[in-house]
Amino acid sequence: MVDLEAGKALQVRLKSRPILAEYGRTRGGLRLVWVIAAFVAASQLSIAQQAPQAPATPPARFVVVLDAAHGGDDTGGRLGDTQLEKTFTLAMSVRLRSLLGARGIPVVTTRESDAAVDPGKRAEIANHAQAQACISLHGSESGSGVHLYASSLAPAQPVRFAAWKTAQAAWVTRSLALEGVLNSALLEAGMSVTLGRTSLPAMDSMTCPAVAVEIAPELGPDKKVIAELDDPDYQARVATALAAALVQWRAEAHP
């Protein structure tokens, strides 16, 4: 324990590695306490955590981030007559989290209730989780089936200090690979899938393989609605297919 008394000198000297502090004298006599303040080391550790690592680096553990879009005052789109997009995305997030938990996959969510979460905060949560898959859940009345979107940023090499608004650029290649795995699983489940690239404020700042999953009503060959978004069976089928895809993704990321 370090005894800091009044009048005792505090000297901080910068050396090549740690900061060493000489805390002064105790009652029993002169005692030098070398404290590894770890200021520099902690800073370096923090920088290393925030900087995007090379996608090829094997991750320590497999974590999935589920981002239920919208929330609070941001209601998102209106799905049908009664349902709001923010409610639908939260329901899908809860459903998918349960399925992934049952498969032994740790999940970090950006929101657990009807709370407003800033796009920047969503990216912060995803980046701090150091996830191997970030799924942003959306719902829409337009189109049909499931729309999968990766970032439209041009792929770039990982850098130590990435620009916040384009941090996803170093991960686009992995995001496209994750999009392919999700596409395969959804097609296998008999759903129509639309693939695309887009620019979403939260997703473009994520340093993880990130895909936006937009779920639309399921249409038949005659363009008539087969399953609405508030259909629990449809939600379960989509969530099961996404969970299967993430299990497959884990097998590829952690062979």
């Binding site: 829409s140 009345e141 337009s142 189109g143 639309t194 695309g196 979403l200 937009e214």
Partner: protein
């Protein structure tokens, strides 16, 4: 008896007052004539109708998330900014039609202005700014045929407010605007968006409206997904 110098001073002041009065009356008459001339807004010549030309539109389709190329004949002004606005107006008129494959309310009047400026960079790799060429100003550089341009599209707030929310539908709207601009004005390589003259974070809660879009990336092959 009034002193002579006071008589002289009175005379000078009287003459000056008369001169100032005449000048004031003359200026009033001139201002009145100018006012009358300004209010005469009756057309003196018939408006010129631009000749019809072929315009290429990249029309979005929500059912499969694709952009389809359509060639339409419509009168296009010679001025590039007005030409861009006319083309985008036609595109948004298609979206406002009752049977549109990508229904968006608003129509052609949703495009307030299209400003064409020198693009900040020649592509993403060469960071040479426009106008940095020795001996050339920005305006001269912008007039050069090969100079890429940045189009700033100013949309109405009612268009953004009434746009359907969703990643697919918002992305298709943005990409079809970018692709249509590039197809008709090949010098337009970058596109930015304003809403009522102000920057806006997203179009309707999803697609990022604060970034610069590369027009060439938004013009895929026919029928391709963005």
């Amino acid at each position: 008896m009034i002193p002579r110098h006071q008589q002289l001073l009175f005379g000078i002041l009287l003459v000056a007052s008369l001169i100032m009065g005449v000048t004031l009356w003359h200026l009033r008459e001139r201002a009145h004539q100018r006012l009358i001339a300004g209010q005469d807004s009756a057309p003196t010549s018939a408006p010129e109708v631009a000749p019809a030309e072929e315009a290429t539109l990249l029309v979005a389709n929500d059912s499969d998330g694709s952009l389809l190329t359509q060639v339409r004949s419509l009168p296009l002004p010679a001025d590039p900014g007005a030409r861009a606005r006319a083309v985008l107006g036609k595109l948004l008129d298609l979206y406002a039609a009752p049977d549109a494959a990508h229904p968006v309310a608003g129509g052609g009047t949703s495009v307030l202005q299209v400003f064409l400026l020198p693009a900040p960079y020649f592509g993403s790799r060469n960071l040479t700014p426009v106008g940095s060429e020795p001996g050339k100003s920005d305006a001269e550089a912008a007039d050069t045929a090969a100079t890429p341009q940045l189009a700033v599209v100013n949309l109405t707030g009612s268009f953004a407010a009434s746009h359907p929310a969703g990643i697919e539908t918002e992305t298709l709207t943005i990409l079809s605007i970018c692709g249509t601009l590039h197809a008709n004005l090949p010098r337009v390589t970058q596109v930015r968006f304003l809403v009522d003259g102000q920057p806006r974070a997203t179009l309707a809660g999803h697609a990022d409206l604060s970034r610069t879009y590369l027009a060439a990336d938004a013009a895929p092959a026919e029928g391709a997904h963005p």
